[in-house]
């Protein structure tokens, strides 16, 4: 792989529920500030929790393995991208995605999914609170490890 794999890292505790990510994603292709066709979506819970969810770019992607026309393909960054020109609308990808992250869009007449905007995800750029960050895989893991170490340190000091 020529570039280090990057990922849209999600920190749900930082999410403020502003929906900027959905709007930024939807406005990319449809030029409308209307969140329905967004490839990223916030799931709201009754207790106030908000979880932003987008495609995980699975290594062993079920959507990719059922696509028969080459409409879904993995690019050099390891991202599974969709080519609307090649989509025949069989909806197989949508039927097999375990996380509901590939949807068939009537407006686009093709399957749409997150392709990380060719390396410049608009959702991460639009996020005001740092809940979504576009960082290298290794940094995402490192940040989590450091955060956990810090919390252990705090606990140790409290004791």
């Amino acid at each position: 792989m020529p570039t280090p794999p990057k990922t849209v890292s999600v920190s749900p505790s930082r999410c403020i529920g502003c929906l900027n990510c959905e709007l930024a994603c939807a406005s990319r292709d449809w030029a409308k500030l209307y969140p329905a066709p967004a490839r990223i979506s916030l799931v709201f819970f009754k207790d106030g929790a908000k979880i932003p969810l987008t495609c995980f770019q699975c290594d062993n992607a079920p959507c990719l393995s059922v696509c028969r026309t080459g409409a879904l393909s993995r690019d050099s960054r390891g991202v599974v991208a969709s080519d609307p020109e090649k989509c025949i609308g069989c909806r197989a990808c949508s039927a097999v995605c375990p996380f509901g992250n590939v949807v068939y869009s009537q407006a686009a007449r093709a399957a749409v999914k997150c392709d990380q905007c060719d390396g410049e995800p608009r959702c991460a750029a639009a996020c005001p609170s740092g809940a979504l960050r576009y960082i290298e895989d290794i940094d995402a893991v490192k940040a989590k490890r450091e955060a956990f170490a810090r919390s252990l340190k705090d606990t140790a000091e409290a004791i």
């Binding site: 080519d83 090649k86 039927a95 996380f99």
Partner: protein
Amino acid sequence: MPGQLETPRPGNGRGPGAPPASPQPEPPRSATPLLVEGTVNGIRISVPKGTTLLRAARLCGVEIPTLCHHEGLPPEGSCRLCVAEIRGQLAVSCMFPLRDDGFKALTDTPAVMDARRYVLSLLINRAPKAPRIRKLADEYGVAPDPRFMKDPDGCVRCGRCVRACRANGPEAIALAGRGFGRSVTGPFRKPPEACIGCLACALCCPTGKITFAEKDGARRIWDREFSLAPCPECGARVFTAEQIAFYGGSASAACPSCRKKLMASELKKAAAYEAPDGLPLP
């Protein structure tokens, strides 16, 4: 190249699935990537050997009208709209692989325009109401010719639906018969038993002849009725039971938006243990 996309999926009862075949019409014959250079309407272009003339023209920004061509399906060359002139002859550009250096293709000579107008006059007799064909006919100044008008049913017999069905796996429909009797149908001109109701044929149809209806949790297409499986979480009906079985899914699986919610609630449980990351705000 028919047969390239015929690998059945698991659940089809015809063996295990295989990785998807590339629908590239003509792979280069040589192991090393070779380029061929030539011109389309005088515009110089260099493309990998075996690239179709249609693709080369589109790369040049030269627009060639097509009906039966689909980027994701093997070419069939049945609508004949994409004719272009190369080596002094007319060729169907979606099926014409460029193999030799110094090709000179022309897409707007009088011969090409005449051929295209003639083809359009035949197509418009098959589908006089299809918006796409009417637009092309207006553009090329073609009117329907009553000599060839016989039962215009809106289908131009381009076979895009058949190729889409074959690519997806069910191979439920095919073109049957000859001449005026030729039509897209299931085996023995009966509602296709292998159909899974995925709607790929309807989406790929360039004239809008293939229609479907969804009513009371059922989908009707090809004179067959499919019951749409209700989502156990929210009751939404998204896929037909046949579709889910064919793609190897579980009949009790939730609909895509509920799957998203289920995943989110899993992540929420994990987020409860998430330590503050201490990073500054962006």
